[in-house]
Every structure is written in structure tokens, then in C-alpha cells.
Amino acid sequence: MEDIARAKTVEDIRELRSRLLGKKSELARSLAEVGKLPPEQRRIEGERLNRHKHLLETALDERERAVAARQLDTTLERERIDVTLPGPAARVGRHHPISATIREIVRVFAGMGFETIEGPEVEWDYYNFEALNIPRDHPAREKYATLWVSNPLGDDPQRPMLLRTHTSPMQARVMERRQPPIRVIVPGRCFRYEATDPTHESIFFQFEGLAVDDRLTMADLKGVLYSFARQIFGGDRKIRFRNDYFPFVEPGADVAVDCFLCDGRGCRVCGHSGWIELGGAGMVHPNVLRAVGYDPERWQGFAFGCGVERLSMLRQGVPDLRAFQQNDVRWLAQFPAVM
């Protein structure tokens, strides 16, 4: 037993086990001889030897566990490293905040049954304006400072080509192609003749929503945008509609959400008004429905449009719109890699 207590390694114990309990051990020999004893003695001696064997086995097992545990501790200690050292560099790719924001937007609207579609960025005057109840020389065109395009393969003066000033042309295009019910969301690049400054870019991204069926109302429009605002800005947000004019909707509205930073009390982000403008919206104008061959007596719907960068600026505290298309990798690296 003392030998067992002195054993230092698992190997020592293995050796002891063989010496004390192995085939050639004293115990094994004694057990073999028990059979030769008279029956009475045989039982007593057998019981004694087995007790002894059990005692030794238990002691060996116990010692082995203790020794193994100590040996493992030693090994682990030897393998200790400085875990505060940095890991090797790996290039982390990132989505651009514009495409990440668009993805988030379409995901929210997908949950409300809106399908994502896209349209051409170089457009006919017809879809950008005429089909949207903005005939040539309409004063509202001033709001949409247009960049006009010339085709090197020949221009048709009757059919001016332009860089779309909003994503709204897809309203007309999708209604021309389909019958209600329609629920679509159209993200995309837009262009305006605009001097560039921290809040203006001549090239920017918008998303357009359009829903048409036989019963959609302004209350539905409000509900959809309310749900959107809460999913983007958080569950405490309120939404505000005020009257506004866009020739392709009637009634028209400007949509704002109460400021997520100051809860509507007024701060720098919301320009001290408590409200953050999201975009324009309204009920699709009967003239727009007529232009695509819909019967305005039968179908009605709503449309809305909003800036993509604006959402990102608000949520990620981007102070300058121009940063989005300057693509300084140091700036881009501040956005999360996983969207």
C-alpha cells in the first residue's frame, strides 16, 4: 500500500498493478492455491483474498486518477500561451452601406408581401414624367432637376432620354405589365442636376413602393410605413403624415417619423423639429392609373418614395452624403461586415 501511495506516474501505477495483481503476482498464486484447500478453509481464504484484491484495486484506481489529474495539470501549465497576443490578419470583406441598407429595406417590405423589382436608370421622358401626370413644361418639373442624355447612335427629339430623377417610373412600367393586385418595392439609383454638398448628391439611391388593388386606402399606406419605420428605427416610433404635393399622387403626403435619438423632443439629428422626414407618399393619381390602362373606378392604390442614403445617414450618424460614393475604405470599414 505504501508503494501505491508513492507512485508518481501513470507508468509507475501500471507496473505496480502488474506486480500486485498480475498473473505472476503473489495474490494470483495464492488465489490459484485456494482450490487446493479443504472446502471450509477454501471459502474463508477465498473471501479474504478477494477482499484483499478489491482493496488493492481500489487503491490503485484512486491513485491512478490522482496521478493522471496531476500529470494533466502539468501538461496544461506547460502549454500555456499569452492569449492577449493578436490573431493573424485576415481581410474582412464588407458590404457597402448602400447595398446593405437596400437589402434591409427590401427585407422589411418582403415581410409585408412586397416583391422587389428593378427598372432602367436611363429612362424615357414618358415614364419619368408624362406617365406620372407631369406633362412637358409642368411647373412641378422644376422640382426634378433633370439630367438629359444623348445617344451616340441617334436621338429622337420626340422621345427624350434622361437619367431617371426618381424610382417612380417603375410605377407606370410595372402597372403596364401586370394586373392588380400589385405590391412592389423598387430600389435603385437616381440622378438630379444638383450641386454637390454634404446633403446633396447628383447621384443617389431611392426606393419606391407601389401597392394597387380594389380597396387600398391612405390608412393602409400609413400602416405600412408605420410598420416600416418601427422595424428600421425601433418599436417606439410614431409616424406623421402632412399634406404635400406630388403630381402622381392625390391626396399626397410628406411622411415623417419622430426622432429616434431624442424621442421627438428636438435634437441635432432631427434639426430640432422632433421629426425626421422619410419621404413622399400618397394615393396613386387617377391620371396615372388611366395612363397605364387601369380603370380608376375599379382600382386604387398607394405609392411612396424615400432616400436610401438618408436612412443610413440617420442610423449610422453619417454627417456627409458624399462619403457614400467616395469609397474611402477607412470609412467603409466602420460598417459591420455581416448584414
Binding site: 493578436p86 481581410r91 408581401g113 386606402t217 408605420y226 474611402d328 475604405v329
Partner: protein, 797 residues
């Protein structure tokens, strides 16, 4: 819009902030400002605490002024100052009107007779308040020292952003009607001349372009005395930044500001003959306009003319030849409704957006014409003594004021809420509509000044905005379940985006409009790109004047800018390029652009070890191949050599003559031109082409039997590419060859000149059984003998 002027027509019983909010909510975005906040920056209410004579001067005095934020000494020549008086004080840096020249000037510190003067005490004229320059403006005791002068003496103004359908609000009176509607107040209408005269004028009006001039009223006013306007009129014009001219011109401007209706006064004597003609200009017709510019006109321009010549550009500006002068006695006053888009076109073409043109380019009501005329003739009598002798009204096609018939259910149908009927009718009454209720039917006649209410939807909007959009509840749309598919191209593009991000590339989004000089710069020989790109005809700048037909220059530019501070970049962009098509919109082809440049990791070597190294062709190709793996597409066979890239380190694939995939090292000439490192690699992949090569996915279970491999090295001529070896080996081995991996490429002293060796690992596996050694050896021999026969390869010992 000065609030004081607004109060002439409507009582404002709520705080201005509240009114501004209500106007904004009802559709006219309104902010409150101080009319002098800008002009009177750096000006304060100050007190004269001491006054002494300037030595050696008869009339100059040195005044010590406490303006609440400091004490300054100023030299002044004014004689009306006393100690203790409260006066306007302007700091150095303030902008004021020079009393002698009448020009705007910026205040600088000066020295007069050796005495320093820091700032000024101001006269009325210097403040732009009036003509008095004799004495300093003395303020009464209501103003606190240190208060900004604009707050003490300025006026509150509303800054309104009008929507272009609200032409009725282009005048103060129109805005007053809107305010009254919102507040439920009454409008005090301005006084009008009673009626028109029965006498015949000594001229007639002939509208020769009735499509462009819908109504033309002219009044002959006799016996005016042209003189400066009375003070109240001058002040009103000054308060909105208009320069008073003389009483006749001032009245036309005043009535325009008041009613929104522009008008023009001609000197009767200068109008030749007995006819005023409203006609299109002749080709090359000339007119010197009131801004002293000789204009050359064409038939797109509508002019007002006498019998022999043009005397004004309709709706835009008058001619010099009929200008009101000091000796004008008889005036012809023109008030008209010109077709608004025509005026807009002319103003745009002449780049002459006068106050009149801006208003005329909106759809003003023709009903405003006689109203404004009666208002103006009344004022002309009051301020210029002119008697209205005769009035002509040419109005061939009267505007039909619509009677809008609609069921009351229209409100619920559009708004999703039942508005109480009395709320609706009250709102309509407030904005000036007349209406009749016939059971469930509502018949609405909009007020004569509103041209934008024509259909039931307009009426619904009017009622809703007066009642308040807050009354519209929130509702989530119900109805049919939409059945639609996710767009396969969009889905594919998003997967490509995720894959490239996963490979560690940074996505960029760059301008779709580029500098035309960039296009030849991406070509080694610097020649122009073919085909020609689309051009912006009215670009904001040359740098954004071409609609990009390729992503290449944008990526090079982005890399160049980032490499100023980084030693390496790995970028990609997914965006359309725009390829012109005859008589159609351009083909917008979504393209993946990838760029690798410089060092692989933008960091020095670190304790983890590993030298940093620069990107090479195979780093780029690896990304393209892994992208193909990730998207499950079969990459096309690549032809070596893209002439626009490094010819020996590039490859491309075409479909129907169009290049669909190109990748490689930048041509050294191009790299140098863009100040990029030699190790710059780009790839451009047509997204629709890639999508068309998607491999149908059949996810087979792996074979249950073990695989075995053999490594083989062969020697071939240096000119033989790996792709040929790979294809021959594959076809010789058949489908039992599960994988073929290139282990090494060797050229060197152990081989003869002009030879190289490929070492490859052939991995075999069967789906039916464990492969016997003899079977594997047989397949290896087949591969080797095929390579020997087809490529002249020899087995390397």
C-alpha cells in the same frame, strides 16, 4: 412673406410658431424668420455712455457705446446724439449701406484725425430702413441694450415653400385665405375699384395666339402724375426686398405681391397705333427689354406688340420702348392670363426668371385677372391720381369652373376612415368652396382662385388636409395573398455580393457618371472607346458627363485614391454599365468588377509570421474561380490575352462577339497612367452571362467506397498550357477520376531548355466498388500514354 402684411387680411389668434406648424401640416412648409437677421448681423442695441468732441474737428464726436457685449468708441458726425441715448450699434464686420454712395459696404476699423473708431452708430439710411441720413436713429426705451438689432427692429416673416399646384398662394392675400381656412377665421378683402368704365378706349386688343394668351385685360388710365410712391407703399416694397421705382410701377408690383397676379404698365404715348397685338415673335425680331439687354426672339416667344413693333415679352419682361417715365400721363395697364407652360419655356430659354415669369409659369386662375385689375386701378387713382378711362376684357374661352360630383363614400374609399359630413363640408366652406348635398352625393364648386381642384380626389385631399391627416388611422392592408416569385437575377446578384464579401473584398459604390477622359485612359494605346458612350447633354460638370459603359475607370480611380494611404486594396463593385442601342434605351448590363492591387494584407509582417506579398494573377483568378464555385456556375473556357490588359497575363471569354468575362493584370502603361502599382489586377464579369451558366444542382451522396490517389509528374514543352494537360488527363481517365490537382510546375536546371514539368495528383474513386490496385495502375497508364501521344509528354523520373 411679412407677417405684418398678412395681418392686414386676417386676424392671427394663435402664436406664430403654431400657425407655421399648422400651415406646414396642411401643405405649405413654413418657417419663421426675422427679415433683418442676415442684413443686420453684428448689429446690436447700444447705449451712449459718454460723448466728447474730437479735438481739431468742428462736428465730429467720439461716442462711447456699451452694446451689452463690450464697450467701444466710435467717431460720428451726427449732431443729434446725447449721452444716455439708445441707438443701433454696428460692430466691425457688419454690412451696412454707405450713406453717401448708397452701396453696400463692410464696416472696418478706421482712424479719423488720429482717433480710432471701432464700429458705427447707425442712421436709418445706413440700416436700409429709409432715406434719412441726417441723424442717428434714436430708439425708444423698449429695447434692451445688448439685444440683437434684428430682434429689436426686424419683422417676423414667414418663409413658405409653396408646392407648384398652389398658384393661388403666390400673393399675400392667397396665403391669408389659406391661413383663414386653417384657423377658421374670416378674410378681410382688399378694396377694389367699383366697376369698369363704359367708355371706349382709343385702342383695341387683338389676341392672335389664343392658345398662349387665355385672357387679356387692358385698362386705359389717364392723367397720372408719375412721382415717388408714398412712404407706406415704399416701405412695403422694401420689406420684401423690392426697390421702389415710381408710383405707377410700384402699384403694379404691389398688387402682384398682394394678389399673386403680375401686371405691366405701358406708356400710352409710346404705343403706336390703335391696336395692341398679342402675337408670336417673328424670326429674328429684336427687343430691348427693361433690363437693358437686346434680345433676339423667335416664334416660340409670345410678345405684346403695337402695330409696328414688339413692346414686351408676354409674362416675362417689358420693353424699354414703352417704359413709364417721369412725363408719362396716360398708362395702359395690362393684366393677363398667359398659358403657364409657355411662359416657363420662354423664361427658361431666355434664362430670365423675373418675379412675373415665376408666377406666370404656374397655373394662375384667369379669374384673378379682373380682380387684380380693379385693385390696381383703385390704387393708381389713390397714389398717382390716374382715372380709369376705359377697360377692355378679351376672354374668348371662359374657363369652366368644375362642378365636382362625388359620393360621400369617396372619403372613406380613399382615406380609410369615415369623416363626419359636417367636418367635410365645414372644411370645404373654409377653403372657399361652394357645395350642395344631395342625399349621399356631394357637389363641390371650388373657389375661383383655385385651379388645382378638379376631381373628387382633389376634394378628398382638401378636406383631409384641413381636417388634418392625423385623423387618418393606421391599418395594415388586407386582401388577396400576393403570389410572386423572387426575381432570379436579383437573387443571383445578391449571392455574388455575399460571396465576394466572404472572400474578404470590400464592396464599393461609385458614380455612374464619369469623366470622358477616363475612357481612353483605360486603354493602353489611349484611343477612344468603342462604341461611343451615352453623354449627359447638361452635365453638372465634365467629371460627370458620360454614362459609364464600363466599371473599369471607376475602380481604378477608387483604388488610386485609397492607395494614397494603404499599401493594398481588394475591392469589388456590382453595378450596371450602359451600352447604347439604336432607337432604344441603353442595354443596362449588370457587371461585377473586381480589383486587387498592391500588398495582400495592408499590414507589416507581424509576430504571427509570414512575409506580406503582393497580389498576383492567380490571386485574382482564384477569386473568380471560387466565385464560380460559390454560385455553382461553370466558368467558360478562357482565351489567353486581352489586348486592353497585360497581353501575357490576361484572359477573356466571349459570347456572340461580346466579351463577357475578362480578367488579368493591368497593362503597365495604364497602371502608370493611373499611378497604380504594377501589381494591379482587374476582372469584369457580365452578371447575366454568369447567371445563364448556372449548373443545375443535384446533391449526390458521397461514394461509400474509399478513394486512392497517385502522383504523376510529366515533362512537356514550355508552350503547352495546363488547361490542355488537364483536359486530356480527364478524358483519358474517365469518370473514375474524382479529382485532378496540380501540385507543382517546374522549370529549371533539372530539365532541358524549353521544357517544364507538371506534377499532379490523380484521385480515383468508384461509386460501385473499392478500386483494385491493378485498376488504378491501368487508369494511370492510360492517362500517361494519352499525354505522351497528344502532347508529346514524357514521364518524369
Amino acid at each position: 412673406m411679412p407677417v405684418r402684411w398678412l395681418r392686414d387680411y386676417v386676424d392671427i389668434a394663435v402664436p406664430l410658431e403654431e400657425l407655421a406648424r399648422l400651415l406646414t401640416m396642411a401643405g405649405i412648409e413654413t418657417e419663421i424668420a426675422n427679415d433683418k437677421a442676415d442684413a443686420w448681423r453684428h448689429m446690436w442695441v447700444g447705449r451712449i455712455t459718454a460723448l466728447e468732441r474730437v479735438p481739431q474737428s468742428k462736428h465730429l464726436q467720439l461716442a462711447t457705446v456699451d452694446y451689452g457685449h463690450g464697450v467701444r468708441q466710435v467717431v460720428t458726425g451726427a449732431s443729434n446724439l446725447k449721452e444716455g441715448q439708445v441707438v443701433p450699434y454696428a460692430e466691425v464686420g457688419a454690412s451696412y449701406i454707405d450713406g453717401k454712395t448708397g452701396e453696400r459696404a463692410t464696416l472696418k476699423p478706421t482712424k479719423l484725425l488720429g482717433v480710432r473708431s471701432e464700429g458705427m452708430v447707425m442712421s436709418e439710411k445706413e440700416l436700409g430702413l429709409g432715406e434719412d441720413h441726417e441723424g442717428i436713429l434714436i430708439l425708444n426705451g423698449q429695447h434692451e441694450v445688448g439685444e440683437p438689432l434684428a430682434e429689436a427692429l426686424g419683422e417676423s416673416v414667414f418663409v413658405c415653400e409653396l408646392q407648384p399646384n398652389r398658384a393661388d398662394c403666390l400673393g399675400v392675400l392667397g396665403l391669408a385665405r389659406e391661413v383663414a381656412a386653417i384657423l377658421g377665421a374670416d378674410v378681410r378683402e382688399p378694396a377694389l375699384a367699383h366697376s369698369v368704365s363704359e367708355r371706349a378706349a382709343d385702342f383695341t386688343v387683338r389676341v392672335e395666339a389664343p392658345d398662349a394668351c387665355l385672357r387679356y385685360d387692358a385698362a386705359l388710365i389717364r392723367g397720372v402724375t408719375v412721382a415717388p410712391s408714398p412712404e407706406w407703399l415704399q416701405r412695403r416694397l422694401l420689406s420684401v426686398g423690392l426697390r421702389p421705382v415710381n408710383n405707377v410701377v410700384d402699384v403694379t408690383n404691389y398688387v402682384m405681391l398682394e394678389t399673386g397676379q403680375p401686371m405691366h404698365a405701358f406708356d400710352r404715348r409710346q404705343l403706336g397705333g390703335g391696336t395692341i397685338r398679342v402675337r408670336r415673335a417673328a424670326v429674328g425680331e429684336r427687343l430691348r427689354t427693361l433690363d437693358d439687354v437686346e434680345r433676339i426672339l423667335d416664334p416660340s416667344v409670345l410678345v405684346i406688340a403695337d402695330e409696328s413693333r414688339a413692346v414686351g415679352i408676354a409674362g416675362v419682361i417689358g420693353g424699354e420702348n414703352t417704359e413709364i417715365g417721369a412725363d408719362t400721363r396716360d398708362v395702359v395697364l395690362e393684366v393677363a392670363k398667359f398659358e403657364n407652360r409657355g411662359v416657363g419655356r420662354t423664361a427658361m430659354r431666355l434664362n430670365l426668371w423675373t418675379d412675373a415669369a415665376r408666377r406666370f409659369s404656374w397655373d394662375l386662375s384667369p379669374e384673378l385677372v379682373p380682380f387684380a385689375l380693379r385693385r390696381a386701378t383703385l390704387l393708381l387713382r389713390e397714389v398717382a391720381g390716374g382715372e380709369t378711362y376705359a377697360v377692355i376684357d378679351v376672354y374668348p374661352e371662359r374657363r369652366v369652373v368644375p362642378n365636382i360630383r362625388m359620393p360621400f363614400t369617396a372619403f372613406r374609399r380613399l382615406l380609410g376612415v369615415e369623416l363626419p359630413r359636417d367636418l367635410v363640408t365645414d372644411a370645404l366652406r373654409r377653403i372657399g368652396c361652394r357645395y350642395a348635398v344631395d342625399g349621399d352625393l356631394l357637389v363641390v364648386t371650388p373657389p375661383p382662385w383655385r385651379t388645382d381642384i378638379n376631381i373628387p380626389e382633389d376634394v378628398v385631399e382638401e378636406a383631409a388636409r384641413i381636417v388634418g391627416y392625423d385623423h387618418i388611422p393606421l391599418h395594415i392592408p388586407d386582401g388577396e395573398l400576393m403570389l410572386h416569385e423572387r426575381h432570379p437575377d436579383v437573387e443571383f446578384r445578391e449571392r455574388a455580393r455575399d460571396a465576394l464579401v466572404g472572400f474578404g473584398l470590400q464592396e464599393v459604390v461609385s458614380h455612374a457618371l464619369i469623366d470622358p477622359d477616363w475612357l481612353p485612359h483605360v486603354r493602353p494605346d489611349g484611343t477612344a472607346a468603342r462604341p461611343e458612350p451615352l453623354r449627359v447633354t447638361n452635365p453638372t460638370s465634365r467629371e460627370q458627363s458620360v454614362v459609364r459603359p464600363t466599371l473599369e475607370p471607376s475602380l481604378l480611380d477608387t483604388a488610386r485614391r485609397n492607395l494614397r494611404w494603404a499599401s493594398g486594396v481588394a475591392l469589388f463593385e456590382i453595378a450596371p454599365v450602359y451600352l447604347p442601342r439604336r432607337a432604344d434605351l441603353p442595354d443596362e448590363r449588370w457587371t461585377i468588377g473586381i480589383l486587387l492591387a498592391g500588398r495582400v494584407h495592408d499590414a507589416p509582417r507581424t509576430w504571427v509570421g509570414g512575409e506580406t506579398h503582393t497580389y498576383d494573377f492567380f490571386a485574382l483568378k482564384g477569386i473568380v474561380e471560387r466565385l464560380a464555385d460559390a454560385l455553382r456556375i461553370a466558368l467558360p473556357e478562357l482565351e489567353p490575352g486581352d489586348p486592353a490588359l497585360h497581353p501575357g497575363r490576361s484572359a477573356l471569354a466571349r459570347q456572340d462577339e461580346q466579351v463577357m468575362v475578362r480578367l488579368g493584370q493591368l497593362h503597365p502603361v495604364v497602371a502608370e497612367r493611373w499611378a497604380l502599382p504594377g501589381e494591379t489586377f482587374v476582372a469584369f464579369l457580365d452578371l447575366a452571362f454568369l447567371a445563364s451558366r448556372q449548373v443545375p444542382i443535384v446533391a449526390e451522396l458521397p461514394s461509400r467506397y474509399p478513394s486512392a490517389y497517385r502522383d504523376v509528374a510529366i515533362v512537356v514543352d514550355d508552350g503547352i498550357g495546363w488547361a490542355r494537360v488537364r483536359e486530356d488527363a480527364r478524358s483519358a481517365a474517365g469518370k473514375t477520376l474524382a479529382d485532378l490537382t496540380l501540385l507543382d510546375v517546374y522549370r529549371g536546371p533539372q530539365l532541358p531548355e524549353g521544357k517544364k514539368s507538371f506534377a499532379m495528383r490523380l484521385t480515383f474513386q468508384s461509386r460501385e466498388a473499392t478500386l483494385a490496385d491493378q485498376e488504378i495502375e491501368r487508369l494511370v497508364r492510360r492517362v500517361v500514354s494519352r499525354l505522351e501521344r497528344a502532347l508529346g509528354a514524357t514521364l518524369r523520373a
